[in-house]
């Protein structure tokens, strides 16, 4: 199993309870963003572009606990920004653990080694370390040489100290599936509990708007990466969601499945789109016109989206909606290596970009000198 049995049981009973209560729209994971500031400045990230007074602002522990209680999910992910920059993060995590919430604290791990002593190992706490691929890929992705080595050192130290450690890999156009598979091997050797992998999304606010995977290419990429799986690999994702990424299953988006709370309030409608904010979870659920979202809605902002915040909950919902769903999920977990000759051929014939680890390296440069100055901070 990629997650502890107690966690799988808690999630299963929560979902079944929602279904028995006849609730059609219920959240699965709260995305709690206590701050937006970060100690990296990745070009693909759309979360950190704010004026300084917004980057300095943060949620208090009480505001975090209130949000968690309002929405009632069994799992809480803490993305950001970089959560370890929040001075009260240990208190926030301890408060969530005391409430028996399964916490995934997302981190780039630059500060993990230094701050680890402020946290206690628990079955409720997992550090979800952002590693975007092998050394060169990750370093380019986070725009920092040496970022990979620090992150992996953080992973090793946390694993040795007895913490649950998972990883989170986001893939953009130019990703090399052979390298991603080698990356999975490295992560498993480092002792991580399980891995999550997701395509990047044409996030409106990202400064870089040119390197997002379309759905067709995402499916090809994920089919070649996730088929013919190695026995050693463990994933922190619903098998149905992963089949969706591989193009083997159609799912429609569940935009309310992973609601986001930040200093602005409850984000409408989802983790990726910012169409305004509600002051309470109830207001969020009641005021969003949900049919306007999801790829099937025709909304151009959703057109290429296959990310876990929209579709993981759809996979879980599929699992618990019928006996067929349960059996397919069990098969995915216990028996399927997803053997696929076509995918093997794709993998063997995949041509890595000849110019380096990311397609961006060879892309024509059109930026002005002033833009370059802004990037480097010179």
């Amino acid at each position: 199993m990629a997650v502890p049995v107690s966690q799988a049981w808690t999630v299963a009973t929560y979902v079944l309870k929602q279904k028995m209560m006849g609730r059609k729209k219920y959240p699965l994971v709260l995305m709690l963003e206590p701050l937006f500031r970060c100690n990296l400045a990745c070009a693909g990230c759309g979360k950190i572009q704010y004026p300084a007074h917004i980057l300095k602002a943060e949620l208090s522990p009480e505001e975090c606990f209130k949000a968690v209680e309002e929405c009632g999910t069994p799992m809480v992910a803490i993305p950001g920004g970089e959560p370890l920059l929040h001075p009260q993060m240990p208190e926030i995590v301890a408060g969530l653990v005391a409430r028996k919430k399964y916490v995934y604290m997302c981190t780039n791990a630059l500060l993990l080694k230094e701050k680890l002593h402020l946290f206690k190992p628990s079955k409720y706490l997992s550090f979800s370390v952002h590693v975007d691929g092998q050394r060169e890929h990750h370093d380019f992705s986070v725009c920092r040489e040496g970022g990979y080595d620090i992150a992996m050192e953080g992973v090793r130290v946390a694993v040795e100290a007895g913490f649950r450690v998972t990883t989170n890999t986001t893939l953009f156009d130019g990703a090399d599936p052979n390298s991603v598979r080698a990356h999975f091997d490295e992560l498993m050797v480092a002792g991580v509990e399980s891995m999550m992998v997701s395509p990047g999304y044409t996030y409106d606010k990202a400064p870089d708007q040119k390197h997002f995977l379309g759905r067709a290419r995402s499916k090809k990429l994920f089919r070649s990466i996730l088929s013919n799986r190695k026995k050693t690999w463990r994933f922190n994702a619903s098998p149905i969601f992963m089949e969706f990424l591989m193009g083997k299953k159609d799912l429609t988006c569940t935009p309310w499945g992973m609601p986001t709370f930040s200093i602005f309030g409850w984000q409408k409608p989802c983790y990726l789109l910012q169409d305004g904010y509600a002051d309470s979870f109830k207001e969020l659920m009641e005021t969003v016109e949900w049919s306007n979202y999801g790829t099937e809605s025709g909304n151009p902002q959703c057109a290429n989206c296959m990310v876990h915040s929209g579709y993981e909950a759809s996979g879980v919902n599929y699992t618990f909606s019928s006996l067929k769903g349960l059996l397919q999920t069990a098969k995915g977990i216990f028996f399927s290596k997803y053997e696929d000759e076509g995918a093997m051929k794709l993998l063997n014939e995949w041509k890595p970009a000849s110019y380096g680890p990311l397609v961006q390296i060879g892309a024509p440069v059109t930026n002005s000198a002033s833009e370059l100055q802004e990037v480097s901070g010179d």
Partner: protein, 149 residues
């Protein structure tokens, strides 16, 4: 949410392709809004300008009809049937915990006064800088996050 101008690349792509057949997804137009002072002569202009302000990643300055000014980050807008029923919400730059609501009908002037914090930060820019620094023999090359003080 985005205006049609910002979404034009995606709309054009979707007019010709099914989302499931798209290989590389179009991004959005980046408009140079920093320093812009839009004309707010008609209702349509007010709505369009405030939609862009909602999308902007820098501070804005709103002058209200009573002459008072609010400088801050416009994080939300709620569009109603009339300008009286439509509101923007701003976190003032001098008070992180306040959320100020202003009706569209009370807005006399708008300026994109703060720096666009997303401008110029593309992968191309990073990669070019990277190779320049590499060629100059530098090590530990990176993009530094903005200084906050």
């Amino acid at each position: 949410m985005a205006t049609e101008t910002q979404e034009s690349a995606k709309l054009a792509q979707l007019a010709h392709e099914n989302p499931d057949e798209i290989e590389v997804a179009a991004g959005r137009e980046r408009e140079q809004l920093e320093g812009w002072i839009p004309a707010l002569a008609s209702d349509a202009e007010i709505r369009e300008a405030l939609e862009k302000a909602f999308d902007y990643r820098g501070d804005i300055t709103i002058t209200q009809k009573d002459g008072s000014q609010v400088v801050g980050y416009l994080f939300d807008r709620q569009r109603g049937a009339s300008l009286e029923d439509s509101f923007v919400r701003v976190i003032p730059s001098n008070d992180a915990k306040a959320k100020v609501s202003i009706a569209y009908s009370e807005i006399a002037a708008l300026a994109f006064s703060g720096r666009d914090t997303a401008a110029g930060k593309t992968f191309e820019a990073w990669v070019k800088k990277y190779w320049e620094k590499k060629a100059a023999g530098e090590q530990n090359i990176q993009i530094e996050p903005e200084k906050l003080d």
